[in-house]
Every structure is written in structure tokens, then in C-alpha cells.
Symmetry: C2
């Protein structure tokens, strides 16, 4: 058994699905849930996702050999602060945050140091739903989990957190914190900004009712991610602002060139751009494993 | 019976589906197909979509009381030119082009005038497939068709083309050519540019293999439209360059403001933008009829 006592801070889709998968794999003894909402935690016990719960983070982590932080990015620092003085010195800590530099900073500030047992992580999985009710056993099957060890992370901690995710069926890769934040800015955070931005631009046009009326299927797919949780995305933007703002700048410059090419009516250049994009997209679809995340 | 002899110039998804629906509705006598590819036209006859075919547009329109132009936007002018001197003076002409000002211009130039029987149109329907093999009876069921009469269009021509589309199950609305082109620039052409642009921006990054590897489900949906036909989109961009370039400029300015808000880490403002966008998107999804187009 990999884990004797697991503390899941934030028992929602992400935390609840990890608990279910570890229980199913027989890799965990006891699971303590922690959160603010009593109803969600009661339901988590009923569903057998956790064994018991507390609203106190300090209490939740005491005696745990693995702590999984699945709270919003904006709540990470305060969660680390509450762990201080309560967490065992050799306990492992990992998390599910969509931006990593900010979580590392939250640990440094909240806990006062980066312990060898801290392994920042990001499972690339999720659905549009939230709460323990939405959690399910197979969420991480075949999904990628990126681990971003700090300079202080011990090799054995990294190994154990890797094993934990593999036992849930995930494919684990490792990269630096900065690289993770750049890659996610490009593949996830930027597309969300484009979708939120497009819907907002159209919504603020005078004839917006009419415009949405004529929006077709492509538009629906394209803007689906603009229905994502605004609070979560505010947190992600603030947490990853440097990498995201740089990526947006790059994209805006490319769009300015494309607008200029259209203005000129340069069909040859347009065909080149669209063909290159289509080829990349078709190649990506051929090689990508089945995806399932909007984060 | 609405139509005695229908000439379908371009027997693909759009033209073929119209022919099938009119036949099924009992609103057409004979259907003449016209196109360049022999194989596709043979297949169209086999499938019963058309009765006979010719490769010569002049011959196809002779004796027809309704002509439907479903050729690429870049081929419209030449198609009109070939109709000149062959089409009956009181025949109706309509089309399926995604940008209307350019089709009106193509008629003026190719045919030498805008006849009273010319009713520019745009069915907001389509799939990613093409060719007569992809056509089907129900393509226009419940879909919107926008008709954009010119100053020369006669009321009776407008009425008859409206009846034709209604008999296929479509919901017909009318607007000016310029307004159509602005609305479509916003709801269809701009989103396609954003998707082509995003995929191209990422494909040109050094670590592009890795970036596509970590792209998740949201990205897949978001960029699906970047797999659309590059030639068709080149034509649309060139045909609607004024309205599209203006729309892109507006969007780029909004994105610059969003990037600046992120750079500042202004969570309050970000939450406002994302909440407004989510509300508009959720409202749109509630009220929109079932969509089915990427054009």
C-alpha cells in the first residue's frame, strides 16, 4: 500500500476522483477529507469517497503521509499556512493546480519553506462539472499528469507521487515549473482567453442579440470553454499572468499580421497560413491521446 | 410545383442537399446538375439527386426556371459570365455563398447587370464533408437561410426563393447584403480566423510537438474549425475582407485590453469580463436553435 493516510484538501471533482481511484487500486488506507461545505463532505462520506472529514486543514494533515491539495489557486497560500506546524516532517504534499509557479510561491510563503516532500503537480483532466458528486473512478485513466519538482524536492518523494498517479491509470511526465506554465499558457490558458474574449466582444456589440442568433455550430464548439467557471479562470490568469500575457502578446501580433493579409486580399498567403494550420491540427488529432479536459 | 427545371451549379453537399429536399417535397420537375468532376456527377445521377448533367454552365441554365449556384466564392464571377446570353430572362437565380457583397459584384460583372430574378442567399448549414456523397435530405431542416435581396430584386422573386427554402424545412430571414456580411464576419469568419491563427501560432513555436501533446479536450473543440477547407476559407476572407478585417481589428483591441488586465493581475476586472462572457454564452446556448454549421 502506497499511502497509509491520505488527506484530500478540497473534495470535489479532482480530489474526489483521486480518492476513488486510489481506494479502488488498494493503494490507500484511510482517507480524510477537508473542505468548507458540510453538505458536500457528508455526501463524500456517503459515497465512500472519504472515510471522515474535518473543516480544519491543520487537523486534516496531522498524521497524514500524503496530502493532496485540490483547492482553487487563490486559496493555496492560506491552505499551506494552515498546514504549518501540523504536517509531519516526512509527509508528501502534492496538488492539482493549473499553474505551478504560483503554487510553489504559495508553499514558500505559507509553509515558510519548500520541503523535500513537496511535489507540485497538474493532472490534465477534468470536466465542466464540480463537487464530489461529479467525481468518478476513471477520470485519470489515460490522462497526462505533469509533475514539476522544485530544487528542494527529494527523488524519493518524486517517485512516490509518480507511483500514486500511475496507480490511478495516469501517464506521468515531468518538467520544470516555468516550462509547465509556458506550455499550459499556450495550450489551455490562451484558448480560454480567446473564447472568453470573443464572446465578450460580440456581447458588447449593439446588435448582439442578432449576432448570437446567427451563430452556428462552429461557434458553439469554439466558445464552449467560455462557459467555464469565471472564478477559477480569474485565479488561473492571476497565478500565471507572466507566461499568459507573453503568450497573448505573441498571438495578438500574429493576428495583426493575419488581419493585414486579409486587408490586402493576399489569397496566396492566406492559403499558406490556413493549409499549415489545418495540417498541424490534423496531425495533432492523429497523434493525441483521447483528451478530456478544459483546464 | 414551385420549380419546373432546376439547374444546380456545383453538385456537392450544399447543392446536392437542396436538390434532394426539393425532390422529396415534390416541388421540382427536372434537376440538371453541372460541375467539373465527371465521377461526382455520375454518382449524383446514381443517387437520384439529379436527373442528368452537363459540364457546361451555359447549357445547364438554358430553359431552367431556377438556378442555384453552389460554387466556391472564387468561381462565382466566372459562373455568372457563362450564364450570360443563356439564362432565360425571367429565370430566378440564387446561391449559397458565405459572403454576399462579393457575389452581388460577381453577378454585376459576370452577367453585366443585376436581374430582378437574382436573390442572393446563404443557408447557415453544412458539415465538414463535401461532395454529393455527403449531401442529405435533412441538411436544411430547422436551419436558418438568410436572403439578401439587391435593389433590383423583384418582390415576386424574393417570395419564390423564400418558398423554395421553406419547402426544404429552413427558416428564412432577410437582411441587407452589408449587414449579412458584418454578422457573418462576427459569428463565423472571425472565429475561424482565431482558430486558424491559434493553431498556426502554436505550430510555429519551437517546442510545438510538446505543446500539441499537452493540448487537452478544450483545445480540441476550440480548434476543430481549423481543420476546415483552406481554399474555401481563403475565398471567404478575400470575398469579405472589409467586414472581416474591421471585425478582427475590434477583437484585437479587446484582446490587448484583456492582456493588459492580466499583466496588471487585476482579478476584479477579469472576473467581470469572464462572468459577462459566461452569462452571454449560457444565454445564447439557451435560446439558440440546434445549430449545425461551421461556415
Amino acid at each position: 500500500m502506497l499511502i497509509h493516510r491520505l488527506a484530500v484538501i478540497g473534495v470535489g471533482l479532482i480530489g474526489g476522483s483521486l480518492a476513488r481511484a486510489l481506494r479502488h487500486a488498494g493503494e490507500v488506507g484511510e482517507i480524510i477529507g477537508c473542505g468548507r461545505g458540510r453538505e458536500n463532505l457528508d455526501r463524500a462520506v456517503e459515497l465512500g469517497v472519504i472515510d471522515r472529514f474535518t473543516h480544519d486543514i491543520g487537523e486534516a494533515v496531522r498524521g497524514a503521509d500524503m496530502v493532496f491539495l485540490a483547492v482553487p489557486l487563490g486559496a493555496m497560500e492560506s491552505a499551506f499556512r494552515k498546514m504549518r506546524g501540523n504536517i509531519d516532517v516526512d509527509a508528501l504534499i502534492t496538488d492539482g493546480g493549473s499553474a505551478k509557479a504560483s503554487v510553489v510561491e504559495a508553499c514558500q510563503t505559507g509553509l515558510g519553506s519548500l520541503p523535500p516532500g513537496f511535489v507540485p503537480g497538474h493532472p490534465i483532466a477534468g470536466t465542466e462539472k464540480s463537487g464530489v458528486e461529479a467525481s468518478f473512478l476513471e477520470l485519470y485513466h489515460g490522462r497526462r499528469v505533469i509533475l514539476t519538482p522544485t530544487a528542494a524536492t527529494s527523488p524519493s518523494a518524486l517517485e512516490r507521487v509518480t507511483s500514486m498517479w500511475r496507480s490511478c491509470g495516469a501517464e506521468v511526465t515531468r518538467m520544470s515549473v516555468a516550462h509547465h506554465d509556458e506550455v499550459l499558457a499556450a495550450t489551455s490558458h490562451l484558448p480560454h482567453m480567446l473564447a472568453f474574449g470573443l464572446v465578450d466582444t460580440l456581447a458588447r456589440m449593439d446588435e448582439n442579440d442578432e449576432i448570437f442568433r446567427y451563430a452556428a455550430g462552429g461557434f458553439r464548439d469554439f466558445t464552449r470553454i467560455a462557459s467555464s467557471n469565471p472564478v477559477m479562470w480569474r485565479d488561473i490568469c492571476v497565478a500565471n499572468k507572466a507566461a499568459l500575457a507573453a503568450m497573448m502578446q505573441r498571438y495578438i501580433e500574429d493576428m495583426e499580421m493575419l488581419a493585414e493579409t486579409i486587408r490586402r486580399g493576399d489569397g496566396k498567403q492566406l492559403l499558406e497560413i490556413f493549409s499549415r494550420a489545418k495540417a498541424a491540427r490534423d496531425r495533432y488529432i492523429d497523434t493525441a491521446s483521447d483528451p478530456g479536459s478544459t483546464e
